[in-house]
């Protein structure tokens, strides 16, 4: 019998080969794919996020857990698409114009994926209009912008502005993060949200998209 908790436990340990094996086994035994996703993979990543917030896990532990999650997702993604199972929301993610530092952005992406969001990572050094274009094309619900430098964080306000100019403010939320960022700065540039770390970013994204998500889920 497939044991979904065993999938979660191996994901938490970052044992990617074992997660792959167990997800395959569960599918072979005809366990519902949504159940594998929610009670295996997402349940595991939820524990990882909590351990990170409690200083039991650090970045390396998160990275190997996310690698295991990804291995599992690769197997079930085609089936999720085939069965038209909707994600928690679509997030476009990138670093601010001129900023190359992407470890924070990557961690946020991993944690969001791990919580069931569809993450479209558009990479580093992203111009404001490219964020908006990607959000339009991918029908995203949320844009996440990350910056390490004070010299690049200033372009975040242009993302908010470009979104307004495209008539998408309110429809697409903007969330910001990175070392020099604060809630105050988010308020000042009228971004919808700020999170101090990757695990909190998931809570913030859920909060921001609650209304949208209820709509998606019908």
């Amino acid at each position: 019998m497939a044991d979904l908790k065993e999938i979660a436990d191996n994901l938490i340990k970052g044992n990617a080969p074992r997660v792959k094996e167990l997800v395959k086994k569960a599918l072979d035994e005809r366990v519902e794919v949504e159940k594998i996703l929610n009670e295996g993979l997402i349940a595991g990543m939820d524990v990882v996020g909590k351990k990170f917030q409690a200083n039991e896990f650090y970045v390396p532990e998160m990275l190997i857990a996310a690698r295991a999650m990804k291995t599992g997702m690769e197997i079930i993604r085609p089936i999720l698409i085939q069965e038209d199972i909707k994600s928690q929301g679509i997030v476009v993610l990138g670093t601010a114009k001129g900023d190359l530092h992407d470890i924070g952005k990557n961690l946020v992406g991993m944690m969001l994926e791990g919580a069931g969001f569809e993450v479209i990572d558009i990479g580093i050094d992203v111009a404001p209009e490219v964020f908006v274009q990607a959000a339009k094309e991918k029908k995203a619900h949320l844009i996440g912008v990350s910056a390490l430098l004070t010299t690049t964080m200033v372009s975040m306000k242009d993302v908010v502005k470009a979104l307004k100019e495209a008539g998408l403010d309110g429809k697409v939320k903007v969330m910001i993060g990175g070392a020099p960022l604060t809630q105050n700065y988010a308020d000042e540039i009228e971004a919808d949200g700020y999170a101090p770390d990757a695990a909190s970013a998931v809570d913030k994204a859920k909060e921001l998209l609650k209304a949208v998500r209820d709509e998606i889920r019908g």
Partner: protein, 349 residues
């Protein structure tokens, strides 16, 4: 009192004539300052009021190494300039050890070549009598390891590919070990090591991993350096909050902690808790006040930091990173002016 003596006394946990000060700059700021104070000086910081002169070796020297838009460094990394609204930053875009199989044949740059140290020798000759000379070998072990391999990959290696991670770290640490000894022989007053292990919110890696990978290697470096010259001072840099390792760094021979990034660690708390055994070098906020504050706010912050951290010596006031291109000349001048105005011993703040 000359700057060298000023720093020496502060590092002995005594009060010199005033709080020593230093700052480093990104190239855009360096150029602007050169235009103000004249290009004939090798070290523009000295003219601005720095009490120390820094001479750098190793991977840290690869940042802004060349003016071409893309360039290779001697470690085999390909770098690229990325523009931002006020300047530029260089970052690695191609790494020689993305494929782990290449480690066996990988060779670090030759640290034994004496020609490499000629600029340091000249700096010591020119400034060594009057200024505190810092031989800098930051990006000491971890940052060069992940620079060659990729940060995500190397951090995963530390958990699930341990032999590889240990072998890579052993290989790269030959450079700082040799370069540090060469710099000691040339006559630097202090060696500045460093590897960023902190984030804004706390340690990036667990204490268990730090003890496995970092502590024994740093202990070896520091003991070899002090064996060669028992009076050499050793500094360590980590951005972010690295309070978790300070006691153990002191235990293996650390003298000076830099930069006590104030958005991540409270300098007043660090002074209270570690100020009798570790010298604080840094503390000036660069995530908010220096780039975005007014000159008055900069001065008020300098005053506050001196009041909290300067009593009894053991303090060098310095911005928590090299001054970034978005910082105004007024704020840079305000920083130096306030340091001199409020930094006088005996303190009256």
């Amino acid at each position: 009192m000359n700057p060298k003596e000023r720093v020496r006394i502060a590092l002995s946990f005594e009060e010199p004539d005033r709080v020593p000060v230093s700052a480093d700059y990104v190239p855009e700021i360096g150029k602007k300052l050169h235009q103000r104070v004249g290009p004939e000086e090798i070290d523009v910081g000295v003219v601005m009021g720095n009490d120390m002169v820094i001479t750098t070796h190793g991977f840290a020297g690869s940042y802004y190494l060349k003016e071409e838009p893309e360039y290779y460094d001697e470690w085999g990394c390909k770098w690229k300039y990325f523009r931002n609204p006020s300047g530029s930053y260089t970052e690695v875009i191609e790494r020689p050890l993305e494929d782990e199989k290449k480690l066996d044949s990988y060779k670090i740059p030759d640290p034994y070549n004496n020609r490499r140290y000629e600029p340091s020798r000249q700096i010591i000759e020119k400034y060594g009598k009057d200024y505190w000379i810092v031989g800098a070998i930051p990006c000491t072990i971890f940052e060069v390891s992940w620079g060659l391999r990729g940060l995500d990959k190397f951090m995963m290696d530390m958990l699930s590919n341990k032999d590889f991670a240990h072998t890579l770290m052993d290989k790269v640490m030959e450079f700082p070990l040799v370069a540090g000894k060469k710099l000691i022989e040339l006559g630097v007053d202090m060696l500045w090591t460093g590897d960023d292990v902190g984030m804004q919110t706390g340690m990036m890696i667990s204490l268990a991993l730090w003890r496995e990978y970092f502590k024994p290697r740093y202990a070896k470096l520091y003991s070899e350096f002090k064996k060669l010259n028992p009076s050499i001072k050793i500094a360590y840099h980590s951005c972010g909050n690295c309070e978790a390792i300070l006691d153990e760094m002191h235990e293996i021979g650390l003298d000076v902690i830099n930069p006590i990034q104030p958005g991540a660690m409270n300098p007043a708390h660090i002074k209270k808790r570690y100020g009798k055994k570790l010298v604080l070098w840094g503390t000036m906020d660069e995530q908010k006040i220096l780039p975005f504050g007014t000159p008055e706010e900069v001065k008020a912050e300098v005053k506050r930091l001196i009041k909290n951290c300067a009593p009894g010596g053991g303090f060098i006031l310095t911005p928590a990173h090299n001054i970034q291109a978005d910082t105004s000349m007024e704020n840079i001048l305000a920083f130096y002016e306030a340091a001199k105005e409020y930094g006088q011993y005996p303190m009256r703040l």
